[in-house]
Amino acid sequence: MTKFDYKNMWVYIEHDGTTISTVSLELLCEARKLCDVTGDKLVAVAVDGLPEAELAKIRATGIDQMMVVHGTGYERYNNDAYTNLFTVLCQKYNPSAVFVGGTTNGRDFAPRFAARLNTGCTSDAIEVVYNPESGDIEFIEPAVGGKMMAVITVPVLRPQVGTIRPGTFKYEPVGEKAEIEVIHETVDFDPALIRTKLLKFIPEEDDGAVNLAAEEVVVCLGNGLSGSDKLGKYQELADLLGGKLGCTRPVFDRGILPFKQMIGQSGVVVKPKLLVSFGVSGAINHTAGMKDAGTIIAVNSDPDAAIFGVADYGIVGDMDTVCDMMIEALKARQ
């Protein structure tokens, strides 16, 4: 059996019995595009128990086949039963690819069933491209701390197993197909063989504490801020962007924001994916603490402000006005 004898692409539907993990739906949409190129069938593999409304979301992505798994051992995610399940199913159906959302649990069992099947597994891809020459999927992943992009393929073995970083693809369903084949599979896994027991689950508490160093989006206020009465709009912008407020030393000195929100050499060093800076002059003491942000947008009324030297994109203008416009634009997008 050569790699060309393996057909169809599978997407593992991760769910908790009521809701599907977003990444699974994102994956279905992206895998749909791949299948359109390769002619493979797109198969959603889900353990039974999802409500109709959630199943409709799956169908809406244009799947060709729905595989519903029944049996014991799957009530709660566990490495033992899920590793076994995908080993058994892959051996029976020989899919060409199995995509698994790169959640903690997804990354927990995908490499293991790949090892059990003696096939290649890739992790945390942010792009998947089909190469018609080799017949392989190219999984594109950031490497060396994001300084390089690496193309990974599984050149000989099948299935090609890959976990995909959540939030990479968009859930843009192309519409339900007129005919969806539904397969029911029963794979019992003896609960006695599950070697982990859940003693308790402690949901994450949001204690409201700001930890800027861990934020992915930061809105930073500099001394151009006229007063604390304007804080509200920047907070609103930060909320819309899914981030937190930071500041420079003068803003802290003026008592507008606390020390733990001060960014700079003598404050917090941040590396968010996005930093939007308002009214910051760009003194080195400050920029030393933020220059490694992924994308830096700077807004300042002074075209010669040093901050523009470290920013990726600059806007010269009144910070309050620009903030209002950004809020408006973000609200319009929602």
Partner: protein, 472 residues
């Protein structure tokens, strides 16, 4: 003191003509950052105008105008001083050297580098290392300018082995108060040529002239380093070990002292328990971090062993060895976070930078602790134990500003007096600025203070250079 004149619109035009519109700020356009340094508790004093100079010629022209018109001039690098030294307390002009940030040339055979004063210390250190050399002075603030380092004779942790900035200044270009340009010093290692004007410029905090170019000495870069953390159950034992390390001929690059309080603040701030607070069931009250440099692994290991034996003989709980790139980075990052963690903890804060004889270090630390307790101030200290240089921070979160100043001034008076009594000096590396003028006079005595004022008058008869600082 001479009565100063304001920067009138006419003078502003003249200054602007020298540097151009982009490098000139006047009146309402002056940026806020120029009104304070990193010790804002000493007050904010906005300058009337700011010039960002790029050449010696510009500085010369500007000084002439200011001297003729009796306008105070405060030279500023990146404003990281802790004493108000770079703050224009009499208004006037701030002369920023931040744009003079070029490293000009290397003289490899004579191990010298020539640069402009606005080069940041971190940039100089990295560039020198790229050329295979080492520039040892390393004050905590890596974004300070090298010009500022000379003006305060900055030291840092490696001073134990290598000395402070003073020991690295070979040659200076200085613009005098009246605009004349003077070149002093030579790129040679010895000199017996009358009064050393070069050394007079070092630690003068911008009161004698404006340094516009310098040639500094470099040393060969040591190829290996290793650090050891000596942990103690009590502070006296810990500090008493320091002189023993010095006389044991281990040639340490640095000997840093930290007490349990500062370790705790740092742990809370960085979220990393790197320095132990408890070890083998014992409370760690104080630790010393010793760094050794060398060329050979085995030779270094020998010295580490001697150090560990010495520590054990003097009551250390244990000696921990920092020998991996990761641990080295983490340990020095945690050490560098000390000041930041204190700042993060305290709403109100002041600092002392005294140097005491090494064998008086322990009683002095205990003395300061006690004064803090008596006066209701939180005292945090860490320092360069190897050279007796202690950084003491007085902090408060519950006092009003007035209450804080009252308690703080009392503590400062007591601590400086005790420092003088035991033969110490009032500042090791932060300088005098305007925050500590009173204590300088007490520390050096009337005769020396008078001579300093005389020297100041020779260099700057009109007293326009950084008035209100050091001895003016």
């Amino acid at each position: 003191m001479a009565k100063f004149n304001p920067v009138t619109p006419e003078i502003a035009e003249q200054l602007k003509a020298i540097v151009g519109e982009k490098r000139f700020q006047y009146g309402a356009n002056v940026k806020e950052e120029y009104s304070h340094d990193e010790m804002p508790i000493y007050g904010k004093f906005p300058p009337e105008a700011v010039v960002e100079v790029e050449t010696t010629e510009e500085v010369s022209k500007i000084m002439k105008i200011c001297n003729d018109n009796l306008i105070p001039v405060t030279v500023r690098g990146s404003g990281t001083s802790l004493t108000g030294a770079s703050v224009p307390i009499h208004g006037g002009l701030v002369l920023s050297t931040a744009r003079m940030n070029k490293i000009l040339s290397y003289d490899m055979n004579n191990m010298a580098v020539t640069l402009q004063p606005g080069v940041l210390l971190q940039d100089l250190a990295a560039d020198v290392e790229k050329h295979g050399f080492y520039y040892p002075p390393d004050p905590g603030s890596k974004t300070s300018t090298v010009g500022g380092n000379i003006a305060t004779n900055a030291g840092g942790m490696r001073a134990v082995k290598y000395g402070s900035t003073r020991d690295y200044v070979l040659q200076l270009t200085v613009v005098l108060a009246d605009g004349r340009v003077m070149e002093i010093g030579k790129t040679v290692t010895k000199s017996s040529t009358g009064y050393s004007l070069t050394h007079l410029m070092v630690s003068s905090e911008g009161t004698l002239g404006v340094i516009t170019q310098m040639t500094l000495k470099m040393v060969p870069k040591p190829s290996k380093n290793i650090s050891a953390l000596l942990i103690f159950e009590n502070l006296e034992d810990c500090v008493a070990t320091v002189p023993k390390i010095r006389i044991a001929n281990l040639d340490p690059q640095s000997i840093e002292f930290m007490d349990a309080d500062i370790v705790r603040s740092s742990t809370v701030f960085t979220g990393k328990q790197l320095f132990p607070e408890k070890y083998s069931g014992k409370n760690v009250d104080a630790s010393i971090l010793v760094t050794l440099v060398g060329e050979d692994d085995d030779e270094l290991a020998n010295r580490v062993e001697k150090l560990a034996n010495l520590a054990e003989a003097h009551g250390a709980i244990d000696t921990l060895v920092v020998d991996t790139p990761t641990l080295k980075t983490e340990v020095w990052a945690a050490r560098s976070a000390f000041l930041t963690s204190i700042e993060g903890d305290a709403k109100l804060m002041d600092e002392l930078d005294v140097v005491v004889p090494v064998d008086k270090f322990a009683p002095y630390v205990l003395f300061v602790r006690k004064q803090g307790e008596e006066l209701g101030l939180t005292v945090r200290n860490f320092g360069h134990a190897g050279d007796g240089n202690l950084h003491i921070y007085t902090c408060s979160n519950d006092k009003t500003l007035d209450e804080f100043w009252a308690a703080n001034n009392e503590l400062m008076d007591r601590c400086y007096e005790e420092c003088k009594r035991i033969g110490g000096s009032m500042s090791g590396e932060h300088g005098v600025g305007h925050g500590k003028v009173k204590y300088l006079k007490e520390s050096v005595g009337d005769i020396a203070f008078g001579l300093m004022q005389g020297i100041k008058a020779v260099f700057d008869p009109n007293g326009i250079l950084n008035p209100g600082k050091v001895c003016s």
